[in-house]
């Protein structure tokens, strides 16, 4: 074994360039896998931290009796427990504020909004604590010991009470972005148990607390198991599922870390592994061909097949031992440096301001390291190397000592060659490539594959247009005012759509007010949306809080529907007659197991009315401009006889010149209503741009690295082509081939690879690119609409290839010039 090791070491040293190339290929592979994985780990951890940063409860129970709280606190499953009661509604202008009582029954529940910065929670009946911004808003000085007078209605009903409170503590203030209307925030101020008891005894208040709890086994149980624990706990104290509200987002994040992310990472990793395996294989394959004489000599000296195999594994192992740790280190530190930068970019763009607040604080404390993952990376690289070694080893095993001594690499079986009457330098190039057909093909294949991959992704990336992304949010006009509603919020039902439509925010007067703004050309209503629930057992409804949105389409929409048509049958009149509907999202259609012909019993929520309606699913189409999942014909829609105006969005068309003025005016109008959201085209464009670049550049980076790995192969092939033909080249020079002609010949060989790669990428690349685009479009990736030919990407690829080719040629010509002719002639074949 020692001997084999030493032999392997000396061989590695002897074939320096090959060792270096394999090393780099292995290192890049490890690095890529590690970087991608680490980014994924960081992303998961970020999500985790974001979720944890808000709160950590598993479920909230709407208790029916206050005694249930003490039973819960002693329940075998309950890890920690807290209770919250909504005591009264604060009356202060349009403010949405509540007086609440919060109590921890069993330590462990955490709310970010309930972190004290100063003082203590209220104990006496006139004590209160809240965030400074609330106190300022109600006109008090936010200091501990200060006084504040509040008007409120107990249980949100009855007489308005006014009471003076002493501030006992201050809570962590919420950072509020300027563009969020603060009337939209639900303010909370916390009072003492004593106050509640006082009102309760007076018979003015009935305590019905919410219990927030965590059950045991967050680390070990799956989502379903935890949910089962929660439900069984609830039923133990006599509650049914209706009264249980699971903190799904938290539970999902903690138990089933984003399977989407993981599957993407796995797919990318597999591509990389496959690719690098091909490259490493081809380097070793070429290596065996070169070494066949040496292997034969070893065999002649008595080396067994096993020793030969061990020799190869030993070589691979030594290279891995150096390359993998390096790759792991670099692969870990790239995201370590880049990830915070990406977060900062995200922050700057403020995609979602409330979430980003938390990002700021956790930028540097991301947990990126995962030992199991590291082991998986190392193992998969090792396996890749082993697998790519198998074939070359099998070849090496087959080498017989006799064959080795007179072996001439000749993979082709032909004995004769048509040839040419005269010989030029190019003849030599072609003849050599033809002789090493398999080597040529393997190299061309790896290079071609990487370029095809590049063009494929480039085709899709190039077709991602910022405008498409922006138009996803603003289908028409320059601005969109949208109603900010919830589907089915049980904690704050006043935010639900059925409650909001009753207030008729988008009245004709409001639209008229908008139209009167200088610069506004027109204001249009988007098709309205109503929500619907069902009695049916369906994951579709479960996943969207029991309610899905329904909208309508007109005859004018038919062309678009037909264009994006997927399956089924669209016929306006028949659909009107039979209450048929179209489903508008192909991907989720499959996910929820829906089928054409399904009959859905719906209950439409028209404000406070409930309209039962049974519909049939008869078509599937993917139009871009519909927000609702289910659409029916305009006639069916009108027949519903809606009492309330279902408009949720209005679009404002403006003249370009007055864009900024209109934006300002609209911002003022929108700020007045807590339920309005304003989307403006310029912001959407910039958000789209940054979202696109966030996806585009990392993917391009990965592709470039893959291309670099592929390039290793080219370098290896070219260097091997010099090393193996050392003597042949010497002879050619002896026959009068000048150094310049020699470099020409070698670079022409490289040029064939480059040209072949370009040809493959130009043909297959664009073909697959288009197919890939169609697939991505079908999957609704990045709102793709039209195919844009990736001209610049192709040109860049060509330039990069030619540039790389030039560098290799330069390198080779230097190498050629360094070695004297006589050395070459003397070298053993």
């Amino acid at each position: 074994m020692k001997m084999v090791f030493r032999l392997a070491l000396s061989k590695l040293r002897y074939h320096k360039s090959r060792t270096l190339l394999t090393g780099i290929a292995i290192m890049l592979t490890t690095m890529l896998l590690m970087a991608i994985g680490t980014s994924a780990v960081a992303m998961l951890d970020m999500n985790r931290q974001l979720v944890v940063a808000q709160t950590n409860y598993h479920a909230a129970f709407r208790l029916t009796e206050s005694e249930q709280l003490s039973i819960l606190s002693k329940h075998i499953n309950v890890e920690s427990l807290a209770s919250k009661e909504n005591f009264a509604q604060i009356i202060h202008g349009k403010m949405n504020g509540h007086l609440e009582y919060y109590d921890t029954a069993k330590d462990g529940i955490y709310f970010s909004s309930l972190e004290l910065t100063e003082g203590h929670f209220p104990e006496k009946e006139d004590e209160i604590c809240s965030v400074p911004s609330f106190l300022k808003r109600v006109g008090a000085d936010p200091v501990v010991g200060g006084k504040v007078t509040l008007s409120f209605r107990v249980n949100g009903e009855g007489e308005i009470q006014t009471k003076e409170f002493t501030i006992s503590g201050l809570l962590t203030d919420v950072e509020i972005s300027a563009d969020i209307s603060d009337s939209r925030i639900a303010w909370g101020a916390y009072v003492s148990k004593a106050l509640l008891t006082q009102y309760e005894e007076a018979g003015l208040y009935k305590s019905t607390p919410w219990a927030y709890l965590r059950v045991y086994g967050e680390d070990t149980l799956s989502y379903d198991e935890i949910e089962a624990q929660i439900i069984s706990t609830a039923s133990d104290i006599g509650l049914d599922e209706e009264q249980v509200l699971c903190n799904n987002q938290y539970l999902y994040t903690m138990t089933a870390p984003a399977t989407d992310t993981i599957s993407i990472v796995v797919v990318i990793s597999l591509v990389i592994i496959l690719f690098s395996a091909l490259v490493i294989y081809s380097i070793y394959y070429v290596g065996v061909i070169t070494d066949i004489q040496e292997i034969g000599k070893l065999k002649a000296l008595g080396a067994s097949k096993r020793q030969i195999a061990r020799l190869f594994f030993c070589q691979g192992g030594i290279v891995c031992a150096l390359a993998i740790p390096l790759g792991v280190l670099i692969g870990y530190f790239i995201p370590w440096f880049l990830f915070p930068q990406v977060i900062r970019i995200l922050n700057a763009n403020a995609l979602d301001s409330t979430r980003m607040d938390h990002l700021k604080s956790l930028r540097n404390q991301l947990h990126m390291f995962s030992l199991p993952f590291l082991l998986v990376v190392v193992a998969s690289v090792l396996i890749t190397v082993c697998v790519s070694l198998l074939k070359p080893i099998r070849m090496a095993k087959k080498v017989s000592p006799v064959e080795a001594i007179r072996y001439q690499e000749n993979t082709t079986d032909c004995k004769r060659r048509k040839g040419h009457l005269t010989v030029k330098v190019s003849t030599l190039t072609w003849a050599n490539l033809a002789r090493n057909k398999r080597r040529t093909i393997v190299t061309l294949l790896t290079m071609g594959l990487s370029s095809v991959l590049f063009i494929c992704v480039a085709a899709v990336m190039n077709s991602c247009r910022v405008e498409d992304l922006a138009r996803r949010n603003i289908p028409e006009g320059e601005f969109r005012i949208s109603l900010d509603y919830a589907h089915n919020d049980r904690e704050y039902p006043e935010n639900n759509l059925d409650a909001l439509v009753q207030k008729n925010y988008f009245s004709e007067e409001f639209l008229a007010q908008l139209s009167s703004i200088e610069g506004v050309e027109s204001v249009t209503r988007a098709p309205g949306i109503i929500l619907s629930s069902t009695d049916m057992e369906s994951t579709l409804f479960e996943d969207s809080n029991d309610r899905v949105a329904i909208s309508c389409f007109t005859r004018e929409d038919l062309p678009e529907l037909n264009e994006q048509f997927v399956s089924g049958d669209i016929d306006y009149d028949r659909m009107t007659a039979n209450n048929e509907i179209i489903y508008t999202h192909e991907y989720s259609f499959e996910k929820y197991g829906l089928a054409l012909g399904d009959v859905l019993p719906l209950t439409l929520h028209d404000g406070d009315r409930k309209i039962p309606l049974t519909v049939t699913l008869t078509a599937l189409s993917q139009p871009e401009s519909f927000i609702a999942l289910i659409i029916m014909t305009k006639d069916s829609w009108d027949n519903l006889g809606l009492t309330y105006d279902p408009t949720t969005d209005i679009y404002v068309h403006v003249k370009d010149a007055q864009y900024d003025d209109v934006k300002k005016a609209l911002q003022d109008i929108v700020a007045e209503n807590e339920h309005f959201n304003l989307y403006s085209l310029d912001e959407e464009l910039s958000i789209g741009r940054s979202a696109l670049s966030l996806i585009k550049y990392p993917i391009y980076l990965i592709l470039v690295l893959i291309a670099v790995i592929g390039f290793m192969n080219l370098i290896n092939t070219m260097i091997t082509s010099i090393i193996t033909r050392k003597k042949e080249l010497g002879i050619l020079q002896a026959l009068g081939l000048s150094n310049r002609q020699l470099v020409h010949m070698l670079s022409a060989e490289g040029m064939v690879f480059t040209a072949g790669t370009l040809l493959i990428s130009a043909t297959l690349g664009h073909l697959f690119g288009y197919l890939f685009f169609l697939y991505a479009k079908k999957m609704h990736f990045m709102s793709l609409t039209g195919y844009h030919f990736p001209i610049w990407e192709t040109v860049t690829l060509a330039l990069a290839l030619l540039g790389g080719q030039a560098v290799i040629t330069l390198f080779i010509s230097k190498k050629v010039k360094k070695e004297s002719l006589i050395e070459r002639i003397r070298s053993q074949e």
Partner: protein
Amino acid sequence: MNEHTNIILRTDNLCKYYGTGDNLVKAVDCIDLAIKQGEFVSIVGKSGSGKSTLLHMLGALDNPTSGSVWLDGENISSFKENRLSQIRRRKIGFIFQSYNLIPSLNVWENIVLPLGLDNKELDEPFIRDIVKTLGLENKVKNLPNTLSGGQQQRCAIARAIAAKPSIILADEPTGNLDTKTGDEVMALLKTSAKKYGQTLVVITHNEEIAQMADRTVMIADGKVVG
């Protein structure tokens, strides 16, 4: 004087040393040699006597440590690499012990290779004649590895003659061949060189072969001994 002009290859005090100090090896040590036009000279010496090094320098493959090589009245040891490659393909034909045909080219292409490298127009009848003389008519499309050793060496001879060089340098041309084939190759080499009027320098350690030459130069330890 007449004799002087007839000399095609001449060396002056030609030396080639490897290493320094105690490791100094005098592969070629002050050799003066003159080869006449059309002459067949054999250089005989044991392996390690420096005969190959001498041939390499005669063929402009290697640079001498000191001294000069005059080919056709030109001091080729002072030439740059580019000019040297020209000299090699125009004035010198090489024949090696291990044939050294280019494995990816067929016999014909191998033969015309030096011409192709020089972008010369092909004198096809001449090449055909050589091919015929050397008995390779049926093998022109074959790849070298399908030929026997003798055939390969005949191909190498054809290659050396094809460019009509002034001088043919052969390094142990029969070293890898069996006796009869070796005899034949030598006879062919000699008759072809005579036929096409080329000067022939053959390096060998085999005195039987040396006897075919017009003149034999014995080399030992880098010096001419007889």
